[in-house]
């Protein structure tokens, strides 16, 4: 007798198993239509390899696994593919997903099977291939592809077979163990073979004495000298059938946080799964049927049924004579962890172990919940050793990071906390909400991180491009300078153009500086002369400034050593230009000149002249001469007015300047 350990917490709900475990497994007649979701397992969705209208045989592959963690799907009966379309999936939120719909033809004709009567004669690789090809997945609930667990790289010392079936009401594994004990033991032997003969512990709760006897009997006729198989009777306590809890009961080991059982040398399989492995290898049959419990007081013929995968829940409920008027809550799975479904077309899949059609008073009443008084009953009940009351406060306050700190992710959603809560708080719902939000936040953070990396990459790319451009430009400049130098070497008389320009500027500067001296001894000038001189001086300095500016820009661009000198010249010239302009304006003011107004008047005159000319031309060709003539008259008047205004302005000027003002 192997020593047993205990796991923390747990609860003892009313079992209600005798509602459904009294009668042998009943095979359900062939339904008219089967709906097979392409994703019945954890991992990648399978890919349909048949087309609507195609005829398929029972057991024929209709959807193939995609990738390592995925599973094949086979036709559960012969018939025609009706459609491949979105249908309601067995899911809490009634999500839809791609399904293959088969209209059965009633012949139930098998495809050719390849049974292996003695698995020991076959290589491991071939066995794994057979199990993989048969689409075997975990039958206990999660639906993990079994073959992945069976080719564990880690050394496995213990194979744990889960026959605990701790959820109230469900009895499918109980009946399976009673009626298929030999097949289960044979399936275990195959699994042991694949895992290099570890010892095997079958965990069964003590509320299933018949199943325990049946398995022990099967064991007594079984001989395997390479590895032991032992039936371990464990105390009835929910959730002893949780994988992690069962491992702890049987081995005293805990799966490390974030790890898998293989990390501690253990592989765990459900009894239904090892039976499916047996079917796949010894009978050659893919996984196309399962045992499903129909129970609850609304079910007249409560019991266990062998159903084809893809059977609609409605068909099974009808067959079990469920009075749907008596139930308002149809649960797929058990009362502790199952989910409600609303659509009776929802198909049964590989992991559907129970349909619970309970009368309304049978299940928890829908009660208003009260305040949490932190009584701690939930903490005592929690098999994951969490602080459910704290997690509740955090989830409620949306402090998701704190919830994460309190190991929310280790919650297995078994519902023990909510079951004991005296304030009837739907704790698991809060945890699911918090987990969902954490998942959202993580994906948001991931997207933000990706964006950041992309942005930084782009910035770096731009900088790199700029540097490359700069590099190229420098190379070009060096090449040009080298060419220039070569040219100069070939023709020494030609000077550097910038130096030449600078020399010219300097020469002119000197010239200009000498100019005033020339004029010192000349006769006293008229206003007209002075004005003209000032105007010219201003214009000259402006032109010089512009030229030097250009030379400077050129020099700076070429990084020429003369740039500094040019800058000084520009500064000097700027001051001079401003000075000259200032002197000019001061003189204009002194003379009472108003060049701006005069300019405006001149423009008016020019405009009026132009308009008159235009209208004279138009008059010759116009279709409406009268209209044009009127405009012409108006234009001539304005021409005269502007001319008069200009004349008047000019007569006000000092007479000496008059000739100067002519354009």
């Amino acid at each position: 007798m192997t020593k047993l350990w205990d796991f923390h917490g747990g609860v003892h709900p009313i079992q209600n198993k005798d509602q459904s475990n009294q009668l042998p497994i009943n095979t359900m007649p062939l339904p008219k239509q089967l709906i097979l979701p392409l994703s019945q397992h954890i991992g990648n969705q399978a890919k349909a390899i048949v087309a609507p209208g195609e005829y398929v045989l029972k057991g024929q592959l209709i959807a193939s696994a995609q990738g390592f963690i995925s599973a094949n799907i086979h036709a559960p009966s012969s018939g025609f593919i009706d459609a491949i379309e979105e249908r309601t999936l067995p899911h809490q939120s009634a999500l839809t997903g791609e399904c293959i719909v088969i209209n059965t033809d009633g012949k139930d004709q098998w495809t050719k099977l390849h049974p292996v009567s003695n698995p020991e004669t076959v290589s491991k690789q071939d066995l794994l291939h057979i199990i993989q090809a048969a689409g075997v997945t975990g039958m206990g609930g999660a639906g993990f592809p079994s073959v992945v667990k069976l080719q564990s790289k880690a050394k496995i010392h213990t194979l744990v077979i889960n026959g605990a079936e701790c959820e109230p009401y469900i009895t499918s594994d109980d009946r399976l163990m009673r009626e298929y004990a030999d097949q289960i033991i044979a399936g275990i032997s195959i699994a042991q073979l694949l895992l290099d003969q570890p010892r095997c512990l079958i965990g069964i709760e003590d509320n299933k004495p018949e199943a325990i006897i049946a398995l022990n009997e099967a064991l007594s006729s079984h001989t395997n000298d390479k590895a032991s198989i032992e039936v371990c009777v464990i105390p009835t306590k929910y959730p002893s059938g949780g994988e992690k809890q069962l491992l702890e009961i049987l081995t005293g080991l805990q799966v490390p946080h974030g790890g898998i059982p293989a990390d501690i040398g253990i592989v765990c399989q459900n009894v239904g799964t090892v039976k499916a492995i047996y079917d796949a290898v010894v009978l050659g049959q893919p996984l196309i049927t399962r045992i499903t419990t129909v129970t609850g007081k609304a079910a007249k013929n409560a019991g266990n049924y062998e159903v084809l995968i893809g059977t609609q829940t409605g068909d099974l409920l009808d067959f079990a004579q469920v009075d749907m008027s008596k139930t308002s809550r149809l649960v797929m799975g058990g009362p502790m962890m199952g989910f409600t479904i609303q659509d009776t077309q929802t198909p049964l899949i590989k992991s559907s172990n129970c349909l619970l059609a309970a009368e309304d008073l049978e299940l928890a009443p829908i009660a208003d919940h009260h305040s949490c008084i932190r009584c701690g009953l939930c903490e005592v009940a929690c098999p994951a050793q969490l602080l459910p009351q704290q997690l509740f406060w955090f989830a409620k306050a949306e402090e998701f990071e704190k919830a994460q700190d309190h190991n929310l992710s280790d919650c297995i959603e078994c519902g023990a906390c909510a079951w004991v809560c005296p304030s009837q708080i739907p704790l698991v719902q809060y945890y699911r909400f918090a987990k969902g939000r954490l998942k959202d936040l993580a994906s948001e953070a991931h997207i933000a991180e990706l964006s950041r990396v992309r942005f930084e990459n782009r910035e770096q790319r731009l900088i790199d491009e700029k540097l490359a451009k700069e590099e190229k430009r420098k190379n070009r400049a060096t090449a040009a300078a080298a060419a220039q130098a070569a040219k100069r070497a070939a023709n020494p008389s030609e000077q550097d153009p910038i130096a030449a320009a600078l020399a010219r500027v300097n020469a002119k500067k000197q010239e200009q500086e000498q100019e005033p001296k020339k004029q010192v001894d000349s006769a006293p000038k008229t206003h007209e002369q002075i004005y003209k001189e000032l105007k010219t001086a201003a214009a000259i300095t402006r032109t010089k400034l512009n030229k030097t500016n250009k030379a400077l820009a050129n020099a700076v661009a070429k990084d020429h050593e003369l740039a500094q000198g040019l800058q000084t010249t520009v500064d000097e010239l700027t001051i001079k230009a401003a000075d000259a302009q200032g002197k000019l304006q001061a003189y204009e003011a002194k003379l009472g000149l108003d060049p701006e107004k005069e300019k405006a008047l001149l423009t008016d005159v020019a405009k009026a002249n132009a308009l008159v000319r235009k209208l004279e031309k138009a008059l010759a060709t116009s279709l409406d001469p009268q209209e044009v003539e009127t405009q012409l008259v108006i234009a001539r008047v304005s021409q005269k007015t502007s001319a008069n205004a200009l004349a008047k302005h000019q007569t006000n000027l000092p007479s000496t300047l008059l000739p100067e003002q002519e354009q």
Partner: protein, 344 residues
Amino acid sequence: MGLINLSSPHHHSLSQTSRLMALVLLATLPGLAAQSYFYGYGTLINLVWASFLALGFEALILYLRGRPIMPYLTDGSALVTAFLLALALPPFSPWWLTLVAVSFSIIFAKHLYGGLGSNPFNPAMVGYALCLISFPVAMTQWAGTEMTMTFGQQWQWFWLESVTGGIDAYTSATALDIMRHTKGLTLSEVASSNPQLALGLTASMWVNIAYLLGGLVLLGFKVFTWHAPVAMLASLGFCAGLFHMGEPDLYPSASQHLLTGATMLSAFFIVTDPVSGATSRKGKLVFGIGVGILVFIIRSYGSYPDAFAFAILLMNLSAPLIDTYTKPKAYGHQSKAPRSQGRP
């Protein structure tokens, strides 16, 4: 019938907060009986009055807060507060003293912090501490055991605070008070000079045993875990025993500490208050130990008749901190290395 969508679990233990509270109320009955037997009708009158007030204030403030009245009124939490106050207040409490204590407990200590489940301090203890500070004379008029009032006298005292023959004939300092306020004398001298002490100690002992019984019933019904009360009693007993061993004439023995005053009432009915206590089991141990040590210190060196109100309030204050440092290790976080890698 239409099918509804609900989240799991679909099953429930059908336990209810109101049932827990009712159990707590029932468990106080042995203590109540013992207290009434030794000290007269005062506690009973107080209990009825406090319950009436607590329900009234609870209903009023729920109404003012716009909360549903009946669901909260029937959860029994207000009654628990009323019972604890009535049991803790002296049997000679006049009507107004109870009124002050209950109103402050329900309105300020409980509802102004958000009502049931959100109060950081034990409401009954807040009300008790307020009265202890504000009305020290009324709070130390404890009933003597030699002469008890008739119901009529008690009733008269309750409303009018006067009684034929004067209150002094009926009051007596508690055993704890006698032991503390005669510091000049050794305990053996006190015992020989004051015949009241032995009587007081006996009465106090039986009352404490009665509360212990009630507490064990609650423990049996798993209303709370053993951690906080056992830790508290153990630490108080340990401190008392240690000092008594050193100076037997200055410090009362561990059994005297454990069986006088409000020790058992506090250990099983107040220290176990989940709302204001520490969360995890380890935390509850720390919480209990803290209360025990504080009680010993305040009883030995403080100037109040008993120490529980202050000790518990101080530990309520530290509960969030205790929670932070006593988070239990979750499944799979226990040990890094699997313990039996090599098993066959």
